[in-house]
């Protein structure tokens, strides 16, 4: 059984903010459990603080190649049927969503 760490890096307001950023609906009653779980994970990954990363470059890319490019030719598109094939609420040639007020 893992020890739970006692520092609280996530407070309820932060949990709500993260859920909002991630567009995942939560009830107020979900917050304590989520807070506990996330804090548990975060406490556990704190062990990376032990590692000295002075002068280390972050691992970006596979290290086996640089980015490939493709020629500027139209090779795709014109497949509206496929594009709309799984749309929950397509109207004519459009996707639709609840009305957005800007």
């Amino acid at each position: 059984m893992m020890e739970s760490y006692c520092f609280m890096s996530l407070d309820p307001a932060t949990v709500r903010r993260i859920a909002r950023l991630a567009r995942i609906g939560i009830d107020e009653s979900d917050v304590p459990a989520l807070q506990g779980e996330l804090n548990g994970i975060l406490g556990w990954v704190e062990q990376l603080n032990e590692v000295d990363v002075e002068g280390v470059t972050p691992m970006v890319g596979t290290g086996h190649a640089a980015l490939r490019t493709r020629p500027d030719v139209v090779t795709d598109g014109n497949c509206r049927e496929a594009v709309l094939s799984n749309a929950p609420d397509a109207v004519g040639p459009f996707y639709t969503v609840p009305k957005v007020v800007e």
């Binding site: 991630a22 567009r23 548990g40 280390v56 609840p98």
Partner: protein, 494 residues
């Protein structure tokens, strides 16, 4: 020997020699699935009718002498690979009715080589898990049982469905994906072979993304040779995947049974973690002895950053998944829960559509990328990841391959592990470092543990040197002579 017990290699030879037809072979597997899948739940979607049609075409090709490497061979496809016209769910409610109008490159390659798909196998939702208990379509049961114990065991994850199907004879082979161990660990739990190729070896196009810099498709089968055959088809450069590496696909089958004389095998000290169970330790030592007997030189090596692999993984993978899963918003595909406003729709849709583990990892990932925390978490983890890779690169200057256990324990029972997510994450402790470094790795079953459950050993190789894995793996396989079969299997259930 019944048709569902054959290896791919033997079945392919049998089909060519017309000892039996593809219709019979596929039919036998369809029947096995009908009989055993209700119990094991290894498949989310079965495609028996289409499989029989494909079998008929296979027989026609075989009749004309136009057989391809996998003509008529029934395979299970992890339900993370988009299959054209066939429902693809990622084991999630949010995609429970999604029918892709396109085929993934890996499955297209298998179809090109004549394979027959019998169904889409179950997995942890969006590949997040190591016990196949987070699927929206119910957990998968491991066909193995502890000696004298009827408890339902987990098959491992996330490719639990594929592993269970292959172990129980509901498929001759299967595709899996491996991000932190999701091919190797279930292979070990189910007593089969599972290979995670070098990152970039197989195309990710059309494979539903979890963590883009880690995901890799790979074969799962009952023998090392069968994995070589499957990998031969699956691998290859794809211009539609910018992380796909453009290098030749060698003849993988030629590596089977290759001499290991002079091969240097590294034993990393850090994998002998505290509390490594005696049976795993014994299996590991046994593996070392077998390789010595085969002519290998055993070298002690050190991979100092091994223990940080899990923490690194559980920052990087959630971060990438939080972004990759943003597209599941109910707008263009997938399930939509209506809302008065756009944001209300997003929130209701994603709350209902994603299970708790997925929601947890998305939120974790959102947090570690958020303003003020990026440096402390994600950037730091990517730096530690460089160090993990450097450990491997340096060790491969002394040795040619590494041998470690695959998992800290054999399969455990459903509900046995606590609800603490971190507890579950520890199942990946030996598999994660190779994932973080992009190295190829394979699990081979080497024997049964004290409770009669299969134990696997892991081989880790240099980038694009899957051949050495296959060579060393086939030597272990030959020495181990693992012919054990699980309690629940096609041959005994009619």
């Amino acid at each position: 020997m019944s048709l569902t017990e054959l290896t791919i290699a033997d079945a392919a030879a049998g089909l060519r020699a017309r000892k039996f037809s593809a219709a019979e072979l596929v039919g036998a597997h369809n029947a096995a699935i009908a009989a055993l899948n209700p119990r094991l739940n290894a498949y989310i979607t079965t495609t028996s009718d289409a499989a029989l049609q494909a079998a008929a075409q296979a027989d026609a090709a075989l009749g004309k002498g136009e057989a391809k490497p996998l003509t008529g061979i029934p395979l299970g496809i992890k339900d993370l690979f988009c299959t054209k016209g066939v429902r693809t769910t990622a084991a999630s409610n949010i995609l429970k009715n999604f029918v892709p109008p396109y085929e993934s490159t890996v499955t297209a390659n298998l179809l090109r080589d004549g394979a027959v798909f019998v169904g889409k196998t179950n997995l942890d939702e969006f590949a997040m898990g190591s016990a196949n208990i987070t699927s929206a379509f119910g957990p998968v049961e491991n066909p193995w049982k502890r000696r004298g114990d009827d408890a339902a065991l987990v098959p491992g994850g996330s490719s639990g469905g594929s592993a269970a199907a292959v172990a129980a004879g509901l498929a001759m082979g299967a595709t899996g994906t491996d991000t932190g161990g999701s091919i190797r660990q279930p292979a070990a739990y189910c007593g089969i072979v599972g290979l995670k190729p070098t990152y970039g070896r197989c195309s990710r196009f059309g494979t539903i993304a979890y963590a883009s810099s880690l995901d890799q498709a790979g074969p799962m089968a009952r023998t090392v040779r069968d994995c070589a055959i499957l990998l031969q088809s699956m691998a290859g450069f794809d211009a539609r995947d910018s992380t796909s590496v453009n290098c030749d696909v060698p003849d993988y089958s030629a590596a089977i049974g290759r001499s290991l004389k002079g091969l240097k095998v590294g034993i990393p000290a850090e994998y002998r973690a505290e509390g490594l169970s005696a049976e795993i330790e014994a299996a590991w030592q046994q593996g070392i002895n077998w390789l010595k007997d085969a002519g290998c030189e055993i070298v002690d090596v050190s991979l100092p950053h091994t223990k940080y692999g899990l923490a690194t993984y559980y920052i990087v993978a959630p971060a990438e998944c939080s972004s990759n899963l943003a597209r599941y918003d109910g707008l263009r595909f997938g399930e939509r829960v209506p809302g008065d406003t756009l944001d209300a729709m997003y929130e209701a849709t994603r709350r209902a559509g994603f299970g708790p583990e997925v929601r947890r990892r998305i939120m974790m990932g959102t947090y570690v990328l958020s303003a003020g925390y990026y440096d402390a978490y994600y950037l730091k983890a990517q730096k530690v990841r460089s160090l993990i890779r450097r450990d491997f690169t340096e060790s491969f200057q002394q040795v040619d391959v590494l041998l470690t256990p695959t998992a800290p324990t054999p399969a455990f029972a459903q509900g046995e592990q606590s609800d603490d997510p971190v507890q579950m994450y520890l199942n990946d402790i030996f598999t994660v470092p190779a994932s973080m470094a992009g190295m190829p790795a394979m699990s081979v079953p080497v024997g049964l543990g004290t409770t009669g459950l299969p134990l696997g050993l892991q081989l880790i190789g240099r980038p694009f040197d899957e051949e050495t894995l296959l060579a060393a793996g086939s030597a272990l396989e030959a020495a181990a002579g693992f012919t054990h079969r699980p309690a629940l299997r096609a041959e005994v259930v009619k």
